[in-house]
Each structure stands twice: as structure tokens, then as C-alpha cells.
Assembly symmetry: C2
Homo-oligomer: 380 residues x 2
Amino acid sequence: MKFQYHLPVNLVFGKGSVAQIGDIAGNYGKKALIVTGCNSTKKSGLLDRVIGYLKASSIESVVFDKVKQNPLTTTAEEAAAMAKENECEVVVGLGGGSIMDCAKATAFLSVNSGNINDYIFGRQIGTEALPIILVPTTCGTGSEGNGFAVLTNPDTGDKKSLRCNAIVAKASIIDSECIMTMPKSILASVGFDALCHSMEAYISKIGQPMTDMMSLEGMKLIGQYLVPLYKGENSTEAWDAISWASTLGGMVINNAGVTLPHGMEHPASGLKNIVHGKGLASLTPVITEATIASCSLENKEKYAEISRCIGGKDETDCVSKLNELLANLDLSLTLSDLGITEADVNWMAENCMKVSAAGVANHPVEFTQDQIAELYRKAL
Amino acid sequence: MKFQYHLPVNLVFGKGSVAQIGDIAGNYGKKALIVTGCNSTKKSGLLDRVIGYLKASSIESVVFDKVKQNPLTTTAEEAAAMAKENECEVVVGLGGGSIMDCAKATAFLSVNSGNINDYIFGRQIGTEALPIILVPTTCGTGSEGNGFAVLTNPDTGDKKSLRCNAIVAKASIIDSECIMTMPKSILASVGFDALCHSMEAYISKIGQPMTDMMSLEGMKLIGQYLVPLYKGENSTEAWDAISWASTLGGMVINNAGVTLPHGMEHPASGLKNIVHGKGLASLTPVITEATIASCSLENKEKYAEISRCIGGKDETDCVSKLNELLANLDLSLTLSDLGITEADVNWMAENCMKVSAAGVANHPVEFTQDQIAELYRKAL
């Protein structure tokens, strides 16, 4: 057993804890760039509340509100230009995964020069970023728990993550009151994303004792709480459980990586701007079935554990339990439902080998490009 | 559910990994103070190997080899003077808990002026220390996983820890080859210490989801592997499991604290220089019995979980399973066996309320000074 575990997260968890953001941000600077979306944090009033909390701690703020789903490298560049122009000392990300990832990339680009794609593809290394504070408003991405920022290059369609400990947030404020305002349809897809993070880290070839333990806990919590929450249970306990599971999912992929479901989803959503959790819903059962059919006994036992976390008995009912969970979340989808056609398959399979090389390598069964194309076809 | 989790450990785990120490230390400086004991790392050859690894990375080193069991504040002061005199930029702690704690305090005192007791009792705050690299040679203390350094003030007998994230190691190299050379009698006492860390964090009033999860994992591993290892099984798997459980134990107390067993043991070993794990062995069953008798149903369920981790069925056999474990480790001891007498009880109870106020407060049943004195008497 050999591993390295280094993930300097600072998690401030609890209902109402966003009110501490001024005190926390005050440790890092007097001027903040708030990165957010164009809509939901304004409608919910969260943006104004955060501006107020910062102001009460004498922190001035400017707002960048142009982040959209599957954020573009060019958007992060635009936000970083705004941070530099305004001499911001700290970046606050307020929103879901796309927004937090864009905030992280913005903080990185504010102090590193050159082309972000060079950093994403590892041709250049950066070890610094502006201090980052994240407030998730969805529970799925787990971006608040890791040093990843997934971005799409609009020129190539490559969707791939910038990865370094410099973009681990100085503080992540996980406040279920900021999360429970999200629409149920979003809960379904982000909650399934969170499950995939823990599942993929758990089966990953580079998993380790720390991530195995956290992945299992995340899957158990999602197995117990996600469907009731989606069906209308609104207890703080359930929101806390799913929020915590989501953060755990973000943490485990930092060290154990993702595997083929995320690896195959990125080309699809990079190409067609698909909702990430929906892309995962269309691909995960197909990939899981093919993997269980040909993986080692040790990995079959891992799928048995996954199955038990979501109400099954062993690896033989893992796929049917996944499908049942997806049906309960109204996420029984195919890639065709999401606008992907047979004509996209070859590009996606090729792109998968390029942008998701690590995910392909981490998967318990190593599929070839042709086999990956075949899996895309099955998911159509 | 409200909590904060911030523990920036960097764990480099695995057999043979100490060979990386030169590369790792090279990130922090060109001159190291190696803090170690007077004997075991010399006899095992580890000290010379580490000096060689550092030299191969062009890192010069000086050795401070005067640390003894239950390290004194004055010893750390002496080591810090040596670090300053030699302009050391990094502190390497090579040994068991006493040595790692002394190394941490040395790194702290090398950059903070004033009296260390003021920092220990929170009258003064320090946020910096020299970079620390730890190589544990026992598996119990968990010091490699936290920001605590337990020291004894020779003037007052106060045994209490310095606590801050500045003394979390920049890297902890947990290499079972450096650990498996320890005598079996030491394995028994340090292994029981590791179990106590996880047990105490698990029942602590300030426990949280992250520490609960890690505590349970630590207890399960110790329940499964400690006695076989003590009885002569020498597999890498077992040494890895106990080493990992020990690190987990160190991590959980950083955020969940300790409770009454550690709280009551510190006055005893501060007074009589007792082996820490033996002090815990004499006190833990007595304290656990009294606690289970009067704690809430929720806490009884926690003791049931603890019992299951060490082979029991529920809270009703938790104490007998603890006693069985201690018997298997040849640790069925009373405080009298360790040189404590009735005449020491009142000082210990009074000292416990002073140096272990947090541990007393974290315990699931809050005992008074008189009740604590009574527990000491029962353990005689």
C-alpha cells in the first residue's frame, strides 16, 4: 500500500454559515471579485447578502456575472482581466459547479501569465493563485472540496480540468440554506454527479484508503437521502447529508481521479453543452454493465459495495439499482435524448482518448478507443 | 450539523518511502535539524540513512538527540536554540510520539519568542513555525497527522499540548519499514494509544462527520490487526494497517479532541513519567464503564459501535472486550502497578481539571473533580 494524501481544504459546514464570509474573507484581502451566474444568486438574494456581509467586514467587491453552464476558458480569462483591473485580492465563487470552477480558474489566471490551455494540458505549471472562497449553491460538483476547475476550450471543444493545489479554496462555506433553493430538476442531475464522483473514485485504480473510506460514506448518504429529497422531503438533515456527500465526492476525485463515466461524458458535454449530470445518467449504466462483465473479482466486490450503498445486494444488481435510482430521479435518458447522434461518436471517442486519458487509465477495465465508441453507441 | 474541518496534512505513505525524504526536504531548505532520541534510530541505522538521503539532496544536517519519553518544554527550548545557532531551515522529527512532539515544538520555538507555556495555555498565539518533516518509528501517537505537541513542564508537572496548524508537518513519511523494528512491548502500548485516540474522538462532544468516519475506520483496523501483530504476525499488510490506523487516530483528535481517558492520563504520566499507553490501559476500562452507565442512548449506541470494532456485540460488552484486548496485549494494569498511590489522587484530579479542561468538557458525561478523583481510586 503506497499513497500520498495532500488536500488542504478548509470546510466551514453548516446552515447559516455563509454569514461568516466577511470574517473569513477578511483574512485574505480588502477587495473581492465575486464570480457568479447571471441569474439565480440575484433572484435568491444571496448575491446581495454576500456583498453586504463583505461590506460589513470592510471588504469592497466587484461582481463578474457572466458564467454559464460548461464554462469557457475565455470566460475565465475575461473574469481574470476584471480582477486585475480592479486589483482584487480575493476571489469569491458563488454558485454551482460551473461558477466555482470558473472562479478557481479566474484566481489562477489572475497571477499566472500565458495561455490557460498550456496549464490544463500540463505543458506549463503554476503554483500560485489569488485566495479563493467558495459558496456552493448546488450539491453535486464537489468543486468546493478539490483543486480542479473543469473548463471548455471554445476553439477545440476540449473539456478538461485545470488541476493544482493552488486552486483549492482557502475556505469553502457549505451552507444548506444556500443550496436548498435550487430547483428539483437540478438536484437530480447534480446529486447523480455527486454519486458518480464517489463511485468512480471508489473503483479507480489510483484509489487509496482515505478516498475509499470517504467514497463509501458519500455513496451511502446519497443512497439514503437523494431520492427522498427529490421526492419532496425537505429536512435540514437530508440537505446536510447530500451537501456533505457532494463535498466528499469532490474531495475523493482530487486524489483518486475519475474513471470512464466522467471520462466519456466530458467529450459529449464539451460538444453539445449538455447538462453534466444528464450526460452521466445516459452513460453510467452502459459503462458499468460492460465493466462488471469483464473486471477482476476484486473489482466485482467493489461494485457489490456500490450496489449495497444504493439498495442492492451485490454486483449482479448494481446496474438495475442504478437504473432504478435514475428512474426515481426522472433521469432515464439516452445520449440521443440529449442531442447526440451516431455522427458524433467517432469524434467523441477520439476526444475521450485525448482529454480523458487519465480517466480511461484509472478505470478498472481499460477500454480501447473502438470499445469506447461502441459504448457511446450503446448509450445512444 | 455544523463543523469546520481544516487539517492540511501531507501524508506520504508506504513501505520504503523514507528514501524520498531528501527530495521532500529539498522543497523547504538546505539545512536541517534532525530531532531524535538517544538510542533506537542510531541502533536501527535509520538516523544514518536519513542523514545520507538528505546529503544526497545537498541538505546539510545537525542532530539533536536528547529527547526522552514525555518530552519536557525545556528540551524543546534547547533544541530550538540549536536550530537557531545552526541557522536550520527545516526540522526533521525521527522517532516515536515524544520525539515528533518535541520536533514540532522545536520548529515552533525556532520562530516564536517568549515562553512556550504561554502558547500552550493560550495566553499567546503563534501562527508560524519552521517547516516540519516527520518520520514516525512507532504507530500510536498519530503526531504525524495533527497539529499537537504534548509537552511536560518540569517546574509544574503540567503535561499539556501546544496546538496550532503551524506545527502540522509539511510532510509526514509513514514507512512501515521504519516502524516494524520497534519492540513488541512498545507496539502494545502505542497501539492501544492509537485505539484510544479514535475511541475518544468518536465519543467526543465536538466530533463531526469527517472524524466519525475516520475514527470508525481506525478502530476497525486496530480491532482486526493489533493483537495478531503483537502475537507475532509480521505481514506488511498488518503493519500498514496499524500504521494507517495510528495516523487516522492522530488526525481525528486534531478536530474532535480527546476526552477523559487522555484527560486523566496526562496528570498521571506528567507526575510519574509513566509510559503513556500503559497509563491509558489502566484508566480506560474504568472510565468507559462509568460513562456507559450514565450516558445518553445516543452515546450508548456509539459505545456499541466501538465494541463491534473490537469484536463485541453492543455497549454491554464494550468494557469486557476492552479488558480482553488489554489482556491479549499484556496490558492488564492498574495505576498502582505504574507507581501511582492514593496520595497522588487529589493532585491528579485537580491537575486534570486544569490541564485537561477541554478533554473533560468533550467527554459524553461531564464528571466533576470529585468523581474524577473517585475514578482514579478505582483504577489504583
